[in-house]
């Protein structure tokens, strides 16, 4: 591969759940300080992405929503994601390891 595009990772939120998508964007901005958060709203889905590694914590998401929100409840709105995923009790990390 000679193409060296920036590898973007992160959640793709269902377009019907735009309110939650707003909160996810806000939380991703808090949880990934210094990273440029890219949002691509395609109507039917909203792609939120960060280069290489994207963290989303329950704390930030609850703060953005203003109500309790266990991460397991994200699933009905999580249509897809870019990168690989690691889900623990209080955070999700989407990532890609390979450098080239």
């Amino acid at each position: 591969m000679t193409d060296r595009h920036v590898k973007m990772v992160g959640p793709v939120v269902r377009g019907m759940d735009a309110d939650l998508a707003e909160a996810v964007i806000e939380a991703v901005e808090i949880d990934n300080p210094g990273a440029q958060v890219h949002v691509d709203d395609r109507g039917g889905y909203i792609r939120v992405s960060v280069p290489q590694r994207c963290r989303l914590t329950q704390t930030s998401l609850e703060e953005a929503l203003g109500r309790p929100f266990p991460l397991a409840q994200l699933e009905p709105s999580l249509s897809a994601f870019a990168g690989r995923m690691n889900l623990t009790d209080d955070e999700i990390v989407w990532y890609l390891d390979r450098e080239d």
Binding site: G15, M16, G44, A72, P76, L78, M85, L96, D97, R98
Partner: protein
Amino acid sequence: MPRLARSEWYDLARDMNWKVSYVEESDAWPDELSTAKGIPMEAWWGWDEPYKVSYREYVHNQAGKDASVYAVNSVVARSKMFSQLDEGWKSAILAHYGAIAAAEYLASIGESRMGRFGRAAAWRNMALYGTLDEIRHGQIQTYFPYGLLDREPRADWAHKTFHTNEWGAIAARHLFDDMFTANDAVSTAIQLTFTFETGFTNLQFLGMAADAMEVGDIDFGALISSIQTDEARHSQQGEPTMKLLIEHGHKDYAQKLVDHMFWRSWHVFALLTGLSMDYYTPLEHRSHSFKEFMDEWIVKQFLDQFRDFGLEPSWYWEDFLKETNWYHHALHLGVWFWRPTVWWNPDGGVSPAEREWLEEKYPGWNDTFGRYWDVIAENVRNGRPELTLPETFPMVCNMCQIPLCNPAGHAAGHLDSPVPLVHDHAGRRYTFCSQPCKWIFEQNPGRFQGHMSIIDRFLAGQIQPPTVPGALAYMGLSPEEMGRDATDCSWAFANGTVLTRGA
């Protein structure tokens, strides 16, 4: 809800693994159904899914998903929304329901095979959710078109397609049997969940959801984007399976499984999604071209992901990239010309404004594919529709079961030769559209050699009378069901602007 955090009890509850003693391991997990590749049982027990969900959470989430999607459906059903949809868009959703709905039930067979023959309890647990997911997808995607029957009788192809010998149904069955109904657990994890679901289903289920929202079809948009939330989870059975294969020295095997199913998936999605996005979706509502969606979901997102495991782009990657420029345009020409052979109304979709868009998205389109449409449009305008309809049939590929359109690819400058690939095996001649389709056959001829394409059946005298009407009857298409142009060829009369549909 349990007071403990999930991580405090999850592994214990999930990992119900033990060494069998009453039977041989090879009897409990026969290699034909399970595939061990010599990896010891205890190593399989290290299989760990990245996307975790407890059964309680699963049931809670799924009930909520269904409640919200059925609520949209029940509101929309009382409105005039469907009748007011663009005719081309209606064709896209009819094609979708016919090709996909019953296939979802078939996918539940593949999931349940992993749920029984996967070699780790964690995997079997994920596959149980996957089985229930696919049953949900089968039910919901037969229920929604059922609600359309009074307005569109051909919505019953959601049920009917897979019970017919319509050529697209033969192609879909051949693919899905290879991928999941007749596949072992390991190959299903790599081919169905990793390749097909992490990669390609996003195109149809999210790419089309984007277009659906533009078109105003919230019913379809809500449906398919919700289905994809299940896929995003159960497709994660691929990663831990892939990891184990690679850790135990079977990277080449994993790569081959991906190469095989990536190509097959590409061809069927070019046919289904390619035509829907670039020709059937009304111009003013197209959010991206098919090629742009391919670039976003496959060429970037999926490629990044499989390279992350140390796999490389398939040996045919350059040919694949080339095909993204022409293959679905050639298929569209063929499907439109042989429109009586499909259960939807193909939209020619080549008015001057649409051609301008096609030229912008696919530079050179006017000088290549446009020239065929010039002749077709002239015949339409001259009142000679018979010249735009088939008198015979095209050759069909013995792997993807899709008609060969190599001459169009050659004429457009993307293929070195217009000639199909021929392969003689065990006293029979096979025809292929492409090197990868031929390669897939050669990797495992015993798996594919007995299948007869619809053209093989025609030539063998199985289709009687051996005429176009005889073949249409064989395909299960009554005159009322046969496809015709979605807009009575309004595009051929359009003069610089898109006509109101149905004009």
